[in-house]
Symmetry: C2
Subunit: 429 residues, 2 copies
């Protein structure tokens, strides 16, 4: 195995090797044992809240000293209430079914050989993430439940918080009789530790980068370990020729402005020409009311001038079509046909989520068939693309790639499969 | 999209871009249209057999001039009978169910929003393969059936055969009303064309290398396009303390010697110490009878000396444990326990297929739980790990990785999924 080809055992590779040993212990464990460990984790988080918030206070102080934006500081901050909420999330994972052991296919061949395709853990999962320390616990809980060992590589700004959280997690897991190395923080705060993780093919089974576009791009381009790409969301709302205007405004507003900083928020509005005169004035007023700046094409600019309302419309360039604003901005264009909307989406979308608002069954069917994104929403907000909303109970990220998993990833997406053949002396003729 | 980041349109990238356009046409097609195109392909292969064998004759002549081994020349050769068999395989694909459109999950959320997870084509599939021109047609047929456009990059030695086959395929596909660019041969015979394919992230959705270990390693390490690793098989047969001796000999022989050049043939025999004295003499005689050289550890060498039969046993080194011989050779060792057998497999196996021969239910259960390979066979030959044997009807390769697909890959493994949400004005509170 390529694992043995790596001669030097740096701290990162040594951690990966220990994770591999732990994964072999975790893989065959029944649900009851894994759930007991998760309950121990939840209890320990609550019992040791003071230690956790104390470590976090140091990270927060340093962040403030470094002049970090308050919104980022807020995401970094752990209060007693937030720790309690994280513990509660862990208990929710206890309640989720164990994906391991599920038989996905099972049949008997004509020669009498039984074939079963069974879910098994992936093995060692590496998560590379930014800022929010709650991800440390979420990711560890999901990996444990699915029988995987996890290597956590958080951001340097949360290093003290993550170190303490992982200490608490490891103690709790060990107290439940599982290997402490089921959960490890990747040693080192430097970029080099990420690079080593990306080279640990054969030791690490998958890397999941969660965070900004540049982190994800780096991992996708440089990793020798298989990667699941997550998160970039240039989402579209298309208002069809036949659409309920009130519903269209509500879906547009919710998709854009319910929470602007997330990947499933809308970044572009496309409007069919036949409904543009009726819809755009309503849309421009509503967007202006929510504080959203519209980056419009010529037709949208014209509509704004004719409407003369409070709307702010600035001219859109090609850059706007491809931008994931994550802010109170939206690009907007008028299209001649549904197929033109699909073509625009095919060209510019990141393939996350696109919504159509329509009363036409034919339009809904064509749009869902032709749009090639993780999620297509018909008469619903783009904001529903989320593991929690989908009823997965928890989410390790949203895959925007086509291999392995696409869309919100829950516990089943943290598994692979193996085939078990059972015969009684079967040989191939 | 990253597709647009690629500014220069080399012939390879231009082909990938055309494939992307074709894929958009193929994705929503119903089964009947795709099946009609496949029947046209089968008919065309038969009607144009003379053209195909004429092109192949040139490849064969050049291969012979270049002093290519006869076994490789044989794999390269297309006779009228072989072309007829290839056409028949295409008709078999027509009979397989269409994976596209299958609903994998479907439920209604508490808020009334309908969630459906539906199989969709991957998009553009790149296949990089060696020697055998039948792969050209097999891969194209499987990709078409699953709604994918395919970029075929065969070996230079089969360039004339593949060029003609792809010409026949494209003419047939176009005659059925589908885009000719659904099937394309990657332009150029040089290594550079493979490199360009590996850089075409955003245009090509997946690369599947089929062939030797060095080809696969290169693609895995260098590709920016997601890769499915296939084929390396260092497979093991473990004979447990309690085993039917006759069945164990038959399974060992079949696993090793029924066909030695394939990835699912066995390369290492592990024997429990408690049965070694009874089993090894039988095994050594049987292997010698089949012309197999045994590379044994000290215990196996000792058994051979004591047995004094016709067996040839040479000393094994660590290199033997990790070698995929693909020849009439097998490594052999005696282990103290089932767990030692598992540890040996975990250390040295390529994770393809491992068999246990046992009459013990407990041993069978433990072995299948602990061995982490694509396929675990209980009382059956390793040779069953094969899409055809599994009843898939056809196979695009055998994945030895854990992401996306593991084990033999049929039509469903050539798909991704998308979520379709249907509401009536649903927004997130």
């Amino acid at each position: 195995m390529s694992a043995d080809a790596i001669a030097t055992d740096s701290p990162v590779l040594a951690a990966a090797r220990r994770a591999r040993e732990a994964a072999a212990v975790l893989a065959p464990l029944p649900r009851s044992v894994k759930d007991a460990a998760l309950l121990a984790v939840a209890d320990a988080l609550e019992a040791r809240t003071a230690e956790i918030t104390a470590a976090n206070t140091e990270d927060v102080a340093r962040a403030r000293e470094a002049g970090t934006a308050e919104s980022v500081v807020d995401r970094l901050t752990l209060t007693a209430e937030r720790v309690a909420a994280i513990a509660s999330d862990v208990r929710d994972v206890v309640g989720l079914p164990d994906p391991v052991g599920e038989v996905l296919r099972g049949y008997t061949l004509p020669n009498g050989l039984d074939v079963r395709q069974v879910r098994v853990p992936l093995g060692v999962v590496g998560i590379i993430y930014e800022a929010r320390p709650n991800v440390t616990v979420d990711a560890a809980a999901l990996c444990l439940k699915s029988g995987n060992a996890v290597l956590l590589r958080g951001s340097a700004s949360a290093y003290r918080s993550n170190t303490k959280l992982v200490e608490v997690l490891r103690d709790a897991v060990a107290s439940a009789g599982l290997p402490a190395d089921s959960v490890q923080l990747v040693p080192g705060e430097s970029r080099e530790s990420v690079k080593e993780l990306m080279r640990a093919r054969g030791l690490v089974d998958v890397l999941i980068p969660r965070g900004g576009a540049s982190l994800i791009r780096t991992v996708v381009e440089e990793s020798l370990v298989p990667v699941i790409e997550t998160g970039t969301g240039n989402c579209h709302v298309y208002v069809d020729a036949q659409a309920d205007l009130g519903s269209a405004v509500e879906i547009l507003l919710n998709s854009k402005a319910q929470r602007v900083s997330v990947c499933n928020s809308a970044e572009t509005l496309l409007v069919h020409r036949d409904i543009a005169d009726a819809f755009l004035p309503l849309a421009l007023d509503a967007l202006a009311g929510a504080g959203v700046t519209v980056h419009g094409d010529a037709a949208v600019q014209q509509a704004a001038r004719e409407h003369g309302g409070p709307a702010t419309v600035v001219p859109a360039t090609d850059e706007d079509w491809e931008t994931e604003y994550l802010s109170y901005d939206i690009a907007a264009a008028v299209v001649d046909t549904l197929d033109d909307a699909v073509a625009h989406i095919r060209r510019w979308s990141s393939g996350h989520t696109e919504a159509i608002v329509t009363t036409s069954q034919a339009a809904a069917r064509r749009f869902t068939q032709l749009v090639d994104s993780t999620t297509v929403a018909v008469n619903a907000s783009t904001r529903f693309t989320d593991g929690g909303q989908f009823g997965f109970g928890a989410e390790i990220g949203i895959s925007t790639q086509k291999l392995h998993a696409r869309g919100p990833m829950g516990l089943p997406e943290l598994t692979s499969t193996k085939y078990i053949l059972t015969g009684d002396g079967h040989i191939r003729p």
